[in-house]
Amino acid sequence: MLRPFRLEEPESVKEASEALARYGDSAKVYAGGTELLLAMKEGLVHFECLVNVKKIPGLDEVRRDNGSLRIGALSTHRELERSETLADALPVLVEMEHNVANLRVREVGTLGGNLTFAEPHADPGTLLLALDATVVAQKAGGEREIPMNEFFVDAYEAAIEEDEVLTEIVVPVPGANAAVRYRKFGYLERPSAGVALHVMADDARRSVRDVRVAVGCVGPKSMRVEEAEAVLRGKSLDEAANAMAEAGDIAGRAADAISDLHGSAEYKEHIVKVLLTRAFNDIRAELAG
């Protein structure tokens, strides 16, 4: 049962932010509603007012801007899965989006809603961390950029203020000698473990010039694991292959895995290592091809 609420339908971010400020914590941004309405139907939360941001023009576009992709926060998973701009420039994101939730949730749920809800069992945040993405948040008084690795605070908590609207996700396009993979595992409705690996090779594609490792789902929030990156950085691809077990162990431990319905902490740590190794093997094959 959904309890009655009021609907506000602003046509600009400024109006939305003003409405949010006016209602304070009794209002919430409503995008696709696939998370928010579930929580409200369950009676876990109630808001007097929902602020529908889907009437604000221009927040669902994907465009290339020099070396970056600018993705409107209101883009649905399905739009991203089918975006030609993304398919050209960032196929790893398209593949990840294609495997989010089910068709109907992808049709309605947005990328911005997914990130802001900060539900631990989610895919996009982990990949976006490994891609060095930033998000743009706007309110009546101005706008700011938040790097992905400062965005997730805790389970169900993102670094966004009550009267801010997430407007864009900005993703630098990986370089010519880079390869990126997102690998996940799960047998419930939502993923149980997710790992993203971004290897930036040198021009000869023989060594790891720089690298990003991110882990999600297993603990309270998606996070980058810099200690695992340090193990791989500067190594030849052969050496890195040998170091994967160590990097995987570090990533598993760093992820603050918790025991829950999805499995024990120990099991999840193991899965992180397996997924990271698989991601690396695929990346290595791509860099060799």
Binding site: F5, R6, L7, G33, L37, L38, K41, N102, V108, E189
Partner: protein, 164 residues
């Protein structure tokens, strides 16, 4: 604002080709409006959490879980329910195929299956079996074991050679 002090929103939309102008409160769900106010009971409420697909409706041709979608989201849109699939008393070819290939038993999941199969075939008229399995994986059936559903969708427009 109605007398109750509660907000109402005008909802002007088309359901299975018929135009409606009604008023809804923001929290009214599309599934309830379609079932209770319009009397179209083909879409079912089952899981109520966007997992099973029994409540699937097409909104401008796109599949949605109407159990968790506010009715106002249908403003100025075309809704298609299972009741709108047959035309002039003739079943839709997907419905024919589900009969021909035994794609249902109790039938509870079937409206959602058929509507989702429609969007699949609209997007991709010649899917492989793998495409079908992948696309339909958000629709749950507790009876058939899925095999017959996949055969039904693969068999749309083709007579079943094994049928007696």
């Amino acid at each position: 604002m109605a007398d109750t002090g509660r907000q109402t929103l005008p909802l002007s939309f088309t359901v299975n080709g018929t135009h409606y102008e009604i008023e809804v409160e923001p929290h009214e769900l599309l599934l309830d409006v379609i079932r209770k106010r319009l009397g179209l009971t083909g879409a079912k409420r089952s899981c109520d959490v966007q997992v099973c697909g029994a409540c699937t409706l097409l909104l401008d041709g796109r599949p949605v879980s109407s159990c968790t979608l506010p009715a106002f989201e249908a403003r100025d849109k075309d809704v298609l329910t299972i009741e709108g699939m047959a035309q002039d008393g003739k079943l839709h070819p997907i419905q024919e195929a589900f009969i021909e290939y035994g794609g249902f038993q109790c039938g509870f999941c079937t409206p959602g299956m058929i509507l989702t199969a429609k969007t699949l075939l609209d997007e991709n008229p010649n899917p492989t079996e793998e495409d079908v399995i992948e696309y339909m994986n958000g629709n749950i059936c507790r009876c058939t074991g899925y095999k017959k559903i996949v055969e039904s969708i693969m068999g749309v427009g083709k007579p079943n050679a094994e049928a007696s």
